[in-house]
């Protein structure tokens, strides 16, 4: 079941032949894709396929070796990470990075203070942060210290931090890793709720079940290359994809 596109949705993010080499080792190789407004792209692939590197290049923590990152029609290869955040790119981290020494509320307020359409006043930012914390189901832990949160709540915090930046593009890097099935379902619900907000979503995930139910399209990376891109069900039945995941059947 995919959401039928109304009129022609605008492309939010696009990569053209994106490549990243680390000392001769190719981590991402010539990857081209785009995500439209309101669309969710699931990105899967075995460990070491280059998914996180891809996200790093889009969010600005890594510079591409070749190719372009295009955000809302503008090439942003040379735009520093903080300015990309101002443009409306937000991400979560695979290894969660809450700011210790801050409360949960303050963590999220950072997003509201520095993201797109940044709030200048602390009060307004905290108000906004409170809303996003309610939205992500973390309203009850507002005054806790960030480091005191357990696994699932940390994920919620990551969400709230990213969302409070009011992004146009949200990059979710393995937000379900380490969660039990019940918690995975909660996060899936949360992402579904976010889809309603109209931003472009890129979801990296290992829990393929979740990807299947979330994504409009699925892209598969293997050894840094894009090996499939399209309708989730079709992509997941592609033998090449299954082989990428389970390995080739040996006799």
């Amino acid at each position: 079941m995919t959401a039928a596109p109304q009129s022609a949705p605008r492309t939010v993010i696009e990569t053209r032949g994106l490549t990243k080499r680390f000392q001769g080792l190719v981590s991402v190789n010539n990857v081209t894709f785009q995500i439209a407004e309101g669309e969710t792209l699931g990105v899967i692939g075995p460990n070491g396929a280059g998914k996180t590197t891809l996200v790093n290049m889009i969010s600005g923590t890594l510079t591409p070796s070749e190719g372009q990152v295009v955000f809302e029609g503008q090439v942003i290869n040379d735009v520093p990470a903080f300015r990309r955040a101002h443009l409306g790119i937000a991400r979560t981290f695979q290894v969660m990075k809450p700011f210790h020494g801050m409360t949960v509320l303050e963590n999220v307020a950072v997003g509201a203070l520095f993201g797109r359409g940044a709030e200048r006043s602390m009060a307004a930012a905290k108000e906004k942060a409170r809303e996003w914390l309610e939205f992500t189901g973390l309203g009850r832990r507002i005054d806790a210290n960030a480091e005191a949160l357990g696994g699932p709540d940390r994920k919620r915090l990551e969400f709230a931090k990213a969302l409070s930046m009011q992004p146009r593009l949200l990059l979710l890097d393995e937000v379900m890793a380490g969660l039990n099935p019940v918690e995975v379902d909660e996060v899936v619900d949360l992402i579904k709720k976010i889809r309603g907000q109209g931003m472009a979503l890129l979801v990296i995930e290992h829990v393929v079940k979740a990807i299947r139910s979330l994504s409009d399209r699925v892209m598969v990376l293997h050894h840094g290359e894009k090996i499939a891109d399209g309708d989730p069900t079709r992509v997941l039945e592609d033998p090449r994809v299954i082989e990428a995941y389970l390995g080739k059947r040996r006799t």
Binding site: N47, M176, G178, L179, P181, H206, L246, R250
Partner: protein, 238 residues
């Protein structure tokens, strides 16, 4: 049947307040290759860390007739429970030979030279490259070096975490062949893998993990066509 080499029963473990493993049971018998498969985040590496006594755990952990739980990491290691860590963890600015020597760091017996010969015969490439810095080698060579280093410790059980990670299939095949050789030398192997069919091609028995629990176990030939295995990776629709 004699007592298994490694017995894990009702094991719970995690990091600080975050539990990762739930009521997990697993055995490895002498002479076996046992594989533990499951998707990322299923808790495989955590299990190895608990076995190496790097994180606290509750339940039963017995190795070679001894209780592992009260031991420190060194204790587990000196009793022959040797791990090849995920990501190899080589000493990058040391030569292959030095890396191998580090594996025998605690050994004072006369057999070290013989073990080295054995490792070189298992990995002839390592002999060629013995003067090369480990950090400058290809991924496959690094994995060989890491496995060789572990063998230098004269293990009673060799645990390998994500052996095939980031390696080309041809190289994985080479490594798998070497695993069989290792077993032939009398060293049982616990192989933690993401590449299911690679693991199944050499293992005797397998355990499938999902979110901190064992969801399937049995002989490889029985599991190979079990849809639950694919489900553990790609979700229930298969």
């Amino acid at each position: 049947m004699s007592e298994p080499l490694l017995t894990i029963e009702h094991l719970n473990a995690g990091y600080g307040a975050v539990p990762v493993l739930f009521d997990l049971s697993l055995t490895v018998n002498p002479g076996e290759i046992v594989t533990l498969v499951g998707s990322n985040g299923a808790g495989k590496t955590t299990l190895l860390r608990a076995l190496s006594r790097l994180i606290p755990a509750q339940g039963t952990l017995r190795f070679n007739g001894e209780d592992l739980l009260p031991l420190a990491p060194e204790g587990a290691f000196t009793r022959g429970l040797v791990q090849v860590p995920e990501g190899r963890h080589l000493f990058p600015r040391m030569t292959v030979e030095e890396n191998l020597a580090m594996g025998a760091h605690l050994r004072r017996d006369k057999g070290v030279a013989r073990t080295l010969e054995r490792v070189y015969s298992l990995f002839p490439k390592m002999k060629e490259r013995r003067k090369q810095l480990a950090g400058n080698m290809s991924g496959g060579e690094q994995q060989m070096c890491a496995m060789g280093r572990a063998l230098m410790a004269d293990p009673k059980l060799l645990m390998i975490d994500e052996m095939s990670l980031g390696l080309a299939p041809v190289i994985v095949d080479d490594l798998l062949a070497i695993l069989t050789d290792i077993r032939a030398q009398g060293i049982p192997v616990l192989l933690v893998e993401q590449d299911v069919f690679a693991a199944f091609s050499v293992a005797d028995r397998a355990y499938v993990m999902e979110t901190g629990r064992v969801v399937r176990e049995g002989l490889v030939k029985d599991l190979a066509n079990d849809p639950a295995v694919v489900d553990a990776y790609l979700g229930a629709a298969h």
